[in-house]
């Protein structure tokens, strides 16, 4: 038992409880500022995580919990995302009728779940951390309980999320039944014997269904657009970044550290899922007029791109996923921060609400346009290099698997389609006529700081990718590839 390994998670949970307690003694007008305290606390934990090292994997809780380079990479990722989301939710506070301190605390509890997920080395921890994330997100999505859209998003997420966890649990039961263990390390030993049993494969497939729901991969993506549209903007941002990344780390761990021998036979399945996800996300995004819904479909498409890295089944592919997630983090957070500020008092989040944004606030306009350009994958921004690395990994795989070239064609087709709707948003910002509202938008300094940080990171990652690529290469050594 080595509790000190999970000190970061306990610190986050402690800070969340402290925010809940502090809420009792804070006068009502000051309550929204608790979010800055929460962001500062998570920021400090983020800095502390930079001091941690994980040269060799260390285990805790009967080997259920592992701390290695990969886990540490994702923990830092989630902590950084949570800081920006907390700043964003302070901006959003006046649109939530009651219980804003609980909103901050729930974000931190979801963050703790994601950090545990990053370290999962046992199906029990996979299930518990995933449920910690999902159940808190049920509340976060429906937090504006006076708004019917928010409630509807919450109920839809609830039903489909519970369905996915039922599949996951039943899958784990079947895997446990054949292999007689839930631990990834022991599973790898027995997987070769167990892989001959169809029940074991069925169990793994059901687990894959549960995880596919989390990352919104085809055909488990139905919930994503509705939930993205209906939720409060900070929740959507955290859902797009945190929840998706948690799904990917769990997928990587299950596929490449629990059952690597079986995964090798699933290349075709993963390739088909990746291709369909890319096409579905991009094609359905074209007619969207609601900005959050558009980003919901685009997040499906991005899950598809990242699945390319899984389907490539080499360390280049997996490290490309890590890089892509890093780029996606800054890009999506910048986009949702702008949405959160601009959509104040606008019902429907329609794209027309950003019309003429460059006259109202040049910073917001620049951030949103750069985010869109980066999502579309245009150099020199971060999103371009991420897609480049993923495609490169698939090309390497193509030598042994000719079907890969079709996959690349589909991915490039997806990028071309996506240019249309991403640049449509940019056009609305700079060149649309007849915008009704032209008053200046005041941007508070914490929002300015986080926007500048996101823009700087988008350019830095796009122009000098070496550093993050090296870190990602180092991190995926924890996987058996």
């Amino acid at each position: 038992m080595n509790l000190s390994l999970s000190i970061l998670e306990f610190a986050v949970i402690g800070a969340g409880l402290a925010i809940l307690l502090a809420d009792l003694w804070t006068p009502v007008p000051q309550k929204r500022n608790l979010g800055y305290a929460a962001a500062a606390a998570v920021g400090l934990i983020f800095l502390a995580s930079m001091l941690m090292q994980a040269a060799a994997p260390a285990y805790a809780f009967e080997k259920m919990y592992v701390l290695d380079g990969l886990a540490l990479f994702f923990k830092r990722f989630f902590l950084f995302a949570a800081v920006i989301v907390l700043v964003m939710s302070v901006e959003f506070a006046d649109r939530i009728e009651a219980g804003i301190a609980e909103y901050y605390a729930l974000i931190m509890f979801a963050l703790a779940g994601m950090m545990f997920a990053a370290s999962a080395n046992d199906f029990i921890l996979v299930f518990v951390s995933l449920e910690l994330i999902t159940v808190t997100f049920y509340v976060l999505t429906s937090f504006q309980r006076g708004r019917l859209h928010s409630l509807e998003a919450g109920v839809k997420y609830l039903i489909l999320g519970a369905l996915a966890s039922a599949f996951l649990v039943y899958g784990i039961a079947l895997v446990f039944g054949v292999a007689n263990t839930t631990n990834f390390g022991e599973l790898m030993g027995s997987a070769r014997v167990a892989s001959a049993r169809p029940v074991f494969l069925l169990g793994l497939l059901l687990v894959l269904v549960g995880l596919g729901f989390k990352i919104a991969a085809f055909p488990f993506q139905i919930w994503a657009p509705d939930v993205y549209q209906g939720s409060p903007a900070p929740t959507t941002a955290f859902l797009a970044v945190g929840s998706k990344a948690a799904g990917f780390i769990l997928l990587l761990r299950v596929l490449f550290s629990a059952v690597p021998e079986i995964t090798v036979n699933w290349t075709k399945l993963l390739m088909v899922i990746a291709g369909m996800t890319i096409l579905y996300g991009n094609l359905c995004a074209i007619p969207q007029r609601n900005l959050k819904r558009l980003l919901g479909y685009s997040s499906i498409a991005h899950a598809g791109y990242m699945l390319l890295g899984v389907a490539a089944m080499n360390s280049a592919g997996s490290s490309a996923i890590l890089y892509y997630l890093g780029a996606y983090l800054f890009t999506v957070l910048a986009a949702f921060t702008v949405i959160c500020v601009v959509m104040r008092g606008v019902e429907g989040d329609d794209i027309s609400a950003v019309a003429g944004l460059h006259q109202r606030s040049p910073l917001l306009a620049a951030s949103l346009s750069l985010a869109m350009v980066s999502l579309a994958g245009i150099p020199p921004l971060a999103g371009f290099f991420g897609k480049f690395l993923l495609l490169k990994a698939v090309v390497e795989k193509g030598a042994t698997q000719p079907g890969c070239y079709w996959l690349i064609a589909v991915a490039i087709l997806g990028v071309v389609i996506s240019l249309y709707y991403y640049l449509g948003v940019v056009r609305a910002i700079y060149w649309s006529k007849g915008s009704a509202e032209l008053s200046d938008i005041k941007v508070s300094w914490p929002i300015q700081v986080s926007l500048y940080a996101c823009i700087a990171a988008m350019f830095y990652l796009g122009l000098f990718p070496d550093r993050l690529v090296n870190i990602a290469m180092e991190a995926v050594k924890a996987l058996k590839l």
Partner: protein
């Protein structure tokens, strides 16, 4: 005749399928939610039976986690459905049509 592992697993598979059918076919949110709980309990039954016949207590530990998580999920889920009912006076999935393609 004593009940063997297969009997338990078959019952659990039937429960799981019935739950899934309920989720797909029923139109009332509360009944859908009950069906989801049925699916979780099917997994519980499988875990308990497997851990009894494999002489491995890990499965029973997992069942405790599943029961706890399911309780948390029900608390949140029912609160949500009640909140929706107060607003719309309905608990039918056909009425959740605010957001569409």
């Amino acid at each position: 005749m004593t009940a063997g592992l297969e009997h338990y697993l078959v019952v659990s598979a039937i429960l799981f399928c019935l739950g899934l059918l309920g989720v797909i076919l029923r139109r009332n949110l509360l009944i859908i939610y009950m069906s989801l709980e049925l699916m979780l309990n099917a997994a519980n039954l499988a875990f308990v039976a497997l851990s009894r016949f494999n002489n491995n207590l890990d499965g029973q530990i997992m069942v405790f986690f599943i029961i706890t998580v399911a309780a948390a999920e029900v608390a949140v889920g029912l609160a949500l459905i009640v909140a929706l009912y107060r607003k719309r006076q309905t608990a039918h999935v056909e009425d959740l049509t605010l957001m569409k393609l």
